[in-house]
């Protein structure tokens, strides 16, 4: 037994593949020391960012599989990009099976942390903050996984993004949970993605709380199979500060949960309070488009039991005052454009624009109270969410 143990130890120390821990401290040359560690890391290694503030002038990047980058707490280890002079994001990850945890990124010039084509990535207890608060010149996305299969975002906090705080794009098998998205244009956005679970988050003081979008003309199309449940979506009343030209610039202040295009989306168990345009909005893509792969309608969208406090009491919609008056002083909590297919549990009031074709604005609407069927079948949740094995990297 003893002999085996010694042999194993020898083997471990002799093997070039033995996992190593590289510890980085803040201070002089941190940019080069940290970037060098990220480049020279071997699969299995862990890079530890000791507590403190790292003044960084350039974006960092990681392209080695199976590496953990760990700080000493989202308020202990801060990667400060206030004087960043180059690169499109603070940290870019392009390798698989990476775990990012327990550190903060502040004031990146572009996006915060981006992972592209990085499968099975875990974002855990991270913070990305633009410290001046909402501002159109803040970066677009705080947490930004794209074109990836297997994404787990757990316990992060994002503030000030001029597009979306947590943005998952063109990806598959996704979980975003236990996170706080505050004072972004969009709190959490799932775009052109499939099999996403968004649960136990707080989305507050954003322009719109949680968005599920499908857009045309992207390499990955056909978003759907999304569950948004048990989230606190409260007081999303920050005026839209997105630069014009971005799709979220069209999101109205006071939108709680919004589905645009997409198929098979379940919204249930959420608490929606203080979202004065529409606590829940389900609509087709509104712009003209030229892409035969694209279905612009919201299909099979299911609204289960949610707790609503108030509806559209201050809607940022053309003719909002008249609409409010017509509905007795406040718009009902669920807003639909009348296109595609929507199912709502009994007892949840709503209203419809009664549009008859995609691409028409409010001008073509003939608003009326919502009368749709309740959900018929159990929602198929079997493939939804990040692969279970990603859980092992938490704790």
């Amino acid at each position: 037994m003893k002999r085996i143990a010694i042999f194993a130890a020898l083997l471990a120390s002799a093997s070039p593949l033995a996992a190593e821990v590289h510890t980085i401290i803040p201070g002089e040359g941190a940019q080069e020391r940290l970037q060098e560690a990220l480049i020279l890391a071997e699969p299995g290694d862990e890079i530890v960012l000791s507590a403190g503030r790292y003044e960084l002038t350039d974006g960092l990047s990681l392209d080695v599989d199976n590496v953990t980058l760990r700080g000493e707490g989202m308020d202990g280890t801060v990667l400060d990009f206030t004087s960043q002079a180059g690169a499109g994001e603070g940290l870019l990850v392009t390798s698989d099976n990476v775990t990012l945890r327990d550190f903060a990124v502040e004031n990146p010039k572009g996006d915060g942390i981006k992972s592209k084509g990085a499968d099975n990535i875990v974002y855990h207890r991270l913070r990305v903050t633009w410290t001046r608060g909402p501002h159109p010149e803040n970066g677009a996305y705080a947490i930004y996984p794209v074109e990836s299969t297997g994404v787990l975002v757990d316990g992060v906090k994002v503030t000030g993004a001029s597009d979306a705080g947590i943005y998952v794009g063109q990806s598959d098998r996704i979980t975003v949970r236990n996170s706080i998205a505050e004072a972004n244009v969009a709190g959490i956005e799932i775009e052109n993605s499939r099999n996403a679970l968004v649960e136990h988050n707080i989305a507050t003081r954003n322009t719109g709380g949680i968005l599920v979008f499908d857009l045309p003309n992207l390499p990955v199309m056909g978003g759907g199979n999304v569950i948004v449940r048990n989230n606190l979506v409260v007081a999303n009343d920050t005026p839209n500060f997105a630069p014009p030209g971005n799709i979220v610039a069209g999101v109205r202040r006071g939108t709680g949960i919004m589905v645009m295009a997409n198929e098979d989306v379940l919204i249930e168990g959420n608490v929606l309070s203080g979202n004065p345009t529409a606590p829940v909005m389900v609509i087709a893509y509104v712009q003209p488009y030229d892409d035969e792969r694209y279905n612009p309608l919201a299909r099979n969208i299911v609204i289960g039991e949610n707790a609503f406090e108030g509806g559209g009491y201050d809607p940022q919609l053309e003719g909002g005052e008249m609409l409010k008056a017509a509905f007795g002083g406040e718009l009902p909590p669920v807003m639909w454009d009348g296109l595609g297919s929507l199912y709502v549990v009994e007892g949840t009031p709503g209203w419809t624009l009664n549009l008859t074709e995609q691409g028409k604005g409010l001008g073509a609407a003939s608003p009326a109270p919502l009368t749709v069927e309740p959900p018929v079948d159990e929602f198929d949740a079997s493939e939804i969410g990040a692969p279970a094995e990603l859980e092992d990297r938490l704790g």
Binding site: Q31, E32, R33, Q35, E36, L38, I39, L40, T57, D58, S61, L62, D63, Q84, A85, G86, A87, G88, L92, T94, P108, K109, G110, D111, K116, G117, P136, E137, N138, G139, A140, Y141, Y144, V146, E147, S162, D163, Y167, G169, Q170, L215, N217, L218, P219, V220, P243, P244, G245, N246, I247, Q287, D290
Partner: protein, 333 residues
């Protein structure tokens, strides 16, 4: 081979007496350093140059130029290719030269003229058994040695147009941000369409129907506005903005061979441009360069807005003018 060995031996003998003379003897490229497993610490180890500081290549290391080059803040760029003796070169997809294992592409960035010229960095692409490897080498102040700088560097310098900039030497990962395609590192520049036909023939005995079809940048006024701009966009943007590369998720594809107007950005809405969009709605608005996000970002120096994201710190006045001319001439629908 034998002669070379004798010469080297003689050189070694005379080394103590005349150290300066030793370097004149043509040395050979060290194939094992190119194909080995290590990350060589200095550029010297490869043996690409007789006089590295003068960028005088040794036998078998061939200088070349591209018709339309990548903009790098006005840096003078000295390009070389090395192919092991007796090995074949061919063409791959898009007319990209296919170099055998053991080949190397070498590119030195320099600022200043004549005696004032200062070498900043030399980037090498090595074709090893397991694929291409990109490494940056940083020249010292004395110009005697270029050392591996995997984490890159920032250097204060003045461009030919007199702009004081903080010049970024890319780190090893940033090399891949531009040179990455479908997850692997690949050369970008040496495609038939951007290489002079005469050089292809003289160097490798190759010919290609597309050889040199991209305009010579200095003669772009005599090319069509479309050709000049499309060549510029291909060379400066399409290594990321194409399927399988760093900016694939944008849906923008600026390759020379792309002819779908929407993929080229014409009346295409941005995806993840964020504040990079300025106040504009579309990447390219025909006839309206001032409303086109593409040009807006090329004219910016603000990180987070500026395009390309890597490899330059100043606006390319000539390149943006070529793109402006093209957009202005596109028919308004």
């Amino acid at each position: 081979m034998k002669v070379g060995g004798i010469l080297l031996g003689l050189a070694a003998i005379s080394l103590a007496a005349a150290a300066g003379q030793a370097r004149i003897v043509a040395r050979e490229v060290d194939d094992e350093v190119i194909t080995g497993k290590n990350l060589p610490r200095t550029l010297e180890e490869f043996g690409f140059f007789i006089h590295a500081d003068a960028q005088m290549p040794t036998t078998g290391v061939l200088p070349y130029r591209l018709n339309t080059p990548l903009y790098s803040d006005g840096a003078e760029k000295l390009r070389f290719v090395y192919v092991p003796e007796g090995q074949e070169v061919g063409f791959g997809k898009d007319g990209l030269l296919q170099f055998p294992v053991g080949s190397a592409l070498i590119k030195t960035f320099a600022f200043g003229n004549g005696e004032e010229r200062r070498l900043i960095e030399t980037r090498v692409l090595l074709h090893r058994e397991d694929g291409w490897l990109a490494l940056p080498y940083l020249w010292n102040e004395e110009q005697t040695e270029a050392r591996l700088a995997v984490a890159g560097a920032r250097i204060d310098l003045t461009t030919p147009k007199g702009e004081a900039i903080s010049y970024r030497v890319p780190n090893k990962n940033q090399c891949k941000e531009c040179h990455g395609l479908d997850g692997a590192v690949t050369p970008i520049g040496p495609k038939a369409r951007n290489l002079p036909a005469g050089w292809l023939d003289a160097s490798f005995g190759l010919s290609h129907e597309e050889a040199g079809v991209m305009p010579l940048w200095e003669d772009r006024q005599s090319a069509s506005a479309e050709d000049a701009a499309r060549a510029y966009l291909d060379v400066n943007c399409a290594h990321c903005h194409r399927p399988g590369a760093t900016a694939s998720n944008s849906g923008l594809d600026l390759r020379w061979e792309q002819d779908d107007p929407h993929a080229l950005g014409i009346m295409k809405r941005p995806v993840a441009a964020g504040r990079g969009a300025g106040s504009h709605l579309y990447d390219v608005v025909p006839g309206k360069p001032g409303e086109s996000i593409l040009l807006h970002r090329m004219l910016s120096n603000d990180p987070g807005v500026a395009m390309p994201e890597l490899g330059k710190a100043t606006v390319d006045e000539e390149g943006t003018e070529a793109v402006r001319r093209w957009i202005e001439g596109l028919p308004e629908s």
